[in-house]
């Protein structure tokens, strides 16, 4: 009889103690960091908002965090995917906001604990703590992430060194009227033209971006460059005006910032690194604020991609006024985007978040519902500073061109992905 009871007890213990998974430990770590900022616990109603491109992962993590916070004795804990204004209006005293992203083989949650008040005497929202938790991706976490879909034909990436050039923008187009496209890059002070000689990129021309100094600049320089119908227009935030030149022509100052494949000219907002949609002419279809925007050249339909200052990628298919935008949170994106139309289909390329000490990745997504990942170039030798698309090698098929810079080594490579 005693032995039977012993077996029953062991069985009960085995079934009761489920093994703790990676996501449980991840939730524990988040709650551990948030806990000091959630006091006095019994007086607080807390909302938990988890955002990320993987709904099931977000749901499960939110549920685990909510359960743990309830265990701390908080007055109430609720899942609610709204912003601070919503949470304040809904009567919460704290909002725990988390954004999920994946990079360098790790799942990362970054966010904040916001204290909310409706008092007219204090500021409505106060950041009590910034949270950051990460864990390596294992089988459990990888099961949450979408599978990579590979369209016909294999993608490949290769790098070509171009020296110590701190590129901020790229475009591909025929800048000298010879019928072949060149790569044109812009730094904070100059524009450089490279041509493909069959094996490498050779420098063809260098133009100084001089002129009146900009009255206000962003803290980190911003530049754009566009090659359109034989004319190159480059603009750096160090200067008030852009510089434009035609084949072998003299450069002349022009106004505004242009973007590849986008028939609009915009202005930087004073002192910051984003463009205001309202400053663009024409402004139709552009986000209220954006770091960068690119349009599809040579595609069967119009398409445009922009990254806003929260790091969210917005893709608009068809005519801007009629087609809905597809938002995708790609936190940590270095604000680089390019669109490419090839015989394999239409794609949007972005630079993706990285881990400390690790390099950026270039992620190519098909312009289809859900933006499935078509290709991912990891292990690049630095951060992706600029992206563009065009037929660089003259084989009739466009490539994605990325300026990859290792800041410590002061070395830049142009990577071609096709």
């Amino acid at each position: 009889m005693g032995r039977r009871i012993g077996w029953l007890c062991a069985l009960a213990l085995l079934t009761a103690a489920e093994p703790r998974g990676t996501l449980d430990a991840f939730a524990d770590a988040i709650v551990e960091r948030a806990r000091p900022h959630l006091s006095p616990a019994r007086d607080l109603d807390v909302a938990v908002a988890v955002a990320g491109p993987w709904p099931r992962l977000g749901d499960d993590l939110a549920a685990l965090v909510v359960a743990r916070l309830r265990g701390l004795g908080l007055r109430s804990v609720t899942r609610g995917d709204g912003d601070a204004a919503w949470a304040r209006a809904a009567g919460f005293e704290r909002l725990l906001r988390l954004d999920l992203d994946v990079g360098g083989g790790r799942l990362r949650a970054s966010g904040s604990v916001l204290a909310l008040t409706t008092s007219p005497w204090t500021e409505g929202t106060e950041t009590r703590a910034h949270l950051f938790v990460e864990t390596p991706l294992d089988a459990e976490l990888r099961a949450y992430l979408p599978a990579v879909t590979t369209p016909q034909g294999r993608w490949q990436a290769r790098g070509v060194p171009v020296g110590d050039v701190d590129l901020l923008a790229l475009d591909v187009g025929d800048s000298d009227g010879d019928g072949r496209a060149e790569v044109v890059g812009a730094t904070a002070t100059e524009a450089i033209v490279w041509g493909w000689d069959g094996a490498r990129l050779t420098e063809r021309r260098r133009i100084a971006l001089a002129g009146r100094p900009a009255p206000m600049m962003p803290r980190a320089p911003v530049a754009t460059v566009v090659v359109e119908r034989g004319a190159v227009t480059a603009h750096s935030s160090s200067y008030a005006d852009a510089v434009s030149w035609m084949t072998r022509g003299k450069s002349v100052p022009t106004r505004g910032y242009g973007f590849p494949g986008v028939a609009a000219t915009c202005e930087l907002s004073p002192g910051v690194d984003w463009f205001a949609g309202a400053s663009c002419a024409p402004s139709a279809g552009l986000p209220e604020r954006f770091w960068t925007v690119a349009g599809l050249r040579g595609g069967a339909r119009a398409a445009r991609a922009a990254i806003d200052p929260t790091g969210t990628l917005w893709v608009t298919l068809g005519a801007a006024a009629t087609a809905p935008a597809m938002p995708l949170t790609v936190r940590g994106v270095g604000a680089q985007v390019a669109l490419i139309a090839s015989d394999r289909g239409e794609f949007v390329a972005t630079s993706e978040p990285v881990q400390a000490g690790e390099a950026d990745a270039i992620v190519v997504r098909a312009l289809l519902a859900g933006l499935p990942v078509a290709y991912r170039a990891d292990r690049l030798p630095g951060n992706v500073r600029a992206l563009a698309a065009g037929d660089v090698d003259g084989d009739g098929k466009p490539e994605i061109v990325a300026a990859v810079r290792d800041r410590a080594a002061r070395r830049t490579e142009l990577w071609m992905v096709n």
Binding site: R33, P36, H37, D99, S110, G111, S112, E126, T127, A129, H130, L131, F132, P213, P215, M216, M217, P218, R219, A220, P270, G271, V272, D273, W291, P309, T310, G311, R331, G332, V333, G334, A335, P353, V354, Q355, A356, G357, E358, D360, N383, R407, A408
Partner: protein, 454 residues
């Protein structure tokens, strides 16, 4: 004994390039940070104050040039400097449309008046080669030089060249053109917010509160519980067990020199000699300095120090006080070690730890027997750093030296200063706070710091 202390050679390890956490993401605007100061705030005047004040002044005021990451001067308020080889007249062209945080235009008159104030003030010794300055147009300043000054751009990057409206000394709510504006402050800290009109770009952080702490453990504990996001000190206990909260260590270059200055007291030269021989610098560095540091090479001979003291004072042990800024924990630790070394040499020293304001006032007035301090190399330049040591006890001597020739190696035996070690400024930074660097003069560069996400 003639130990020629060529600090410049010791500081060879130092570069003006600050270390910086690697940027992986594009910076986003917004968020608040609380952080520890290097010393308690005493003034907003860029010509005065301690290391904490210097950090705040660099955030609020601009200079014609700044030191870039490669250690070279880069135009900031200036657009160009016309300073021909061998010329004793230079022209500074300013950026147009730069505004102070109150919206008024920053003109050549403001720059000329600010430089002129520094020329009159002993603390403005880094501008010594400049004889006079005047605004000759709305955006042009003319400088008359006492000698050809090839290093003029570097000198115009030092705190003495900071520009204030009409060159006036800042009051309680200073107006500058820098990336931050002062919202308020008291003896324990300063509250700043981003200056949206800064010509060099809005700072990424919306607000920044810099605090001074009463004790090392308070500061380290505040970091541990997340009340501050950047600390300058940890405790010995945490060093041993490891911090509970992760931190990125950001070290600046080794350009901060710890020193003891001898005041205008009787037998100052003997006291200086005894001090120089009696202090075990290597032990001092090992036991009190946690940051990367090099010891100033000088003979350590406690026996000779003792015999020198006995020869001069016989059995009557002199009693001196060592003035220490109580808000600098490092200095308090160093003072205790020095005390022991000097007691063995036959000099009784009492530590006179005072608040930062009193320390500054007494240091400026020379009211001390011995003074323990730290000087930063102006503009991160090692040669200027050596002269800064001279200036710590005698600004007029530093001014005279720089007036004659560019800063170079100085024989500190002829001064009242005993250098001890050259160390880096160290910050313990929350991992989610990115791109916080420490520049050549040991100040945290808050204008480029940003949160990983909001």
């Amino acid at each position: 004994m003639r130990a020629t202390l060529l600090l410049a050679s010791i500081v060879m390890v130092a570069t003006a390039v600050g270390t910086r956490a690697r940027a992986e993401t594009r910076a986003q605007y917004g968020g608040a940070v609380q952080a520890a100061m290097a010393s308690a705030p005493t003034t907003f005047d860029p010509l005065r104050g301690g290391p904490g004040d210097a950090e705040v002044a660099a955030l609020v005021f601009d200079t014609p040039f700044v030191i870039a990451a490669d250690g070279k001067p880069r135009p900031s308020l200036a657009l160009a400097l016309d300073n021909a080889d061998g010329a004793t007249r230079a022209r500074l062209t300013l950026r147009p449309d730069v505004r102070f945080s109150d919206g008024t235009l920053l003109t050549a008159r403001d720059v000329a008046a600010s430089l002129a104030r520094a020329l009159r003030d002993p603390a403005g010794w880094t501008l010594a080669p400049v004889k006079s300055v005047r605004a000759v147009a709305e955006e042009t300043v003319e400088l008359e030089l006492s000698r050809p000054t090839p290093e003029l751009a570097l000198l115009l990057a030092t705190p003495a060249a900071a520009v204030t409206p009409a060159g006036a000394a800042p009051g309680k709510r200073p107006i500058g053109s820098g990336p931050f504006v002062v919202d308020g402050g008291d003896g324990a800290g300063v509250r700043l917010s981003a200056n949206p009109g800064c010509f060099a770009g809005r700072a990424y952080l919306q607000s920044l509160a810099l605090r001074a702490f009463a004790a090392r453990s308070d500061e380290a504990g505040s970091y541990e519980v997340g009340s501050i996001q950047a600390a300058r000190h940890t405790t010995g206990a945490l060093d041993a067990t490891g911090p509970r909260r992760a931190a990125i260590v950001v070290d600046g270059p080794q350009t901060l020199t710890g020193f003891v200055a001898v005041g205008r007291i009787a037998d100052a030269d003997v006291v200086r000699r005894v001090l120089a021989l009696a202090i075990n610098r290597e032990r001092l560095r090992r036991l009190t300095v946690r940051e990367p540091a090099s010891v100033v090479k000088a003979p350590y001979d406690p026996g000779r120090a003792k015999s020198e003291a006995e020869r001069r004072w016989h059995d009557a042990r002199p009693k001196l006080s060592l003035l220490v800024d109580g808000s600098r924990f490092d200095d308090r630790d160093v003072a205790e070690r020095i005390l022991a070394d000097l007691a063995r040499a036959g000099i009784d020293v009492a530590i006179d730890a005072v608040d930062a304001s009193t320390y500054q006032a007494r240091a400026d007035a020379g009211r001390y027997d011995l003074l323990l301090g730290t000087v930063a190399a102006p503009a991160g330049d090692a040669a200027l750093g050596t002269l800064a040591l001279v200036a710590a006890a005698d600004p007029a001597a530093a001014r005279a030296a720089l007036q004659r020739a560019p800063a170079a190696a100085v024989n500190l035996d002829d001064t009242r200063v005993v250098p001890l070690f050259v160390r880096a400024a160290r910050l313990y930074v929350a991992p989610e706070l990115r791109d916080l660097a420490v520049e050549g003069a040991g100040r945290a560069v808050w204008s480029d710091a940003h949160w990983l996400s909001r």
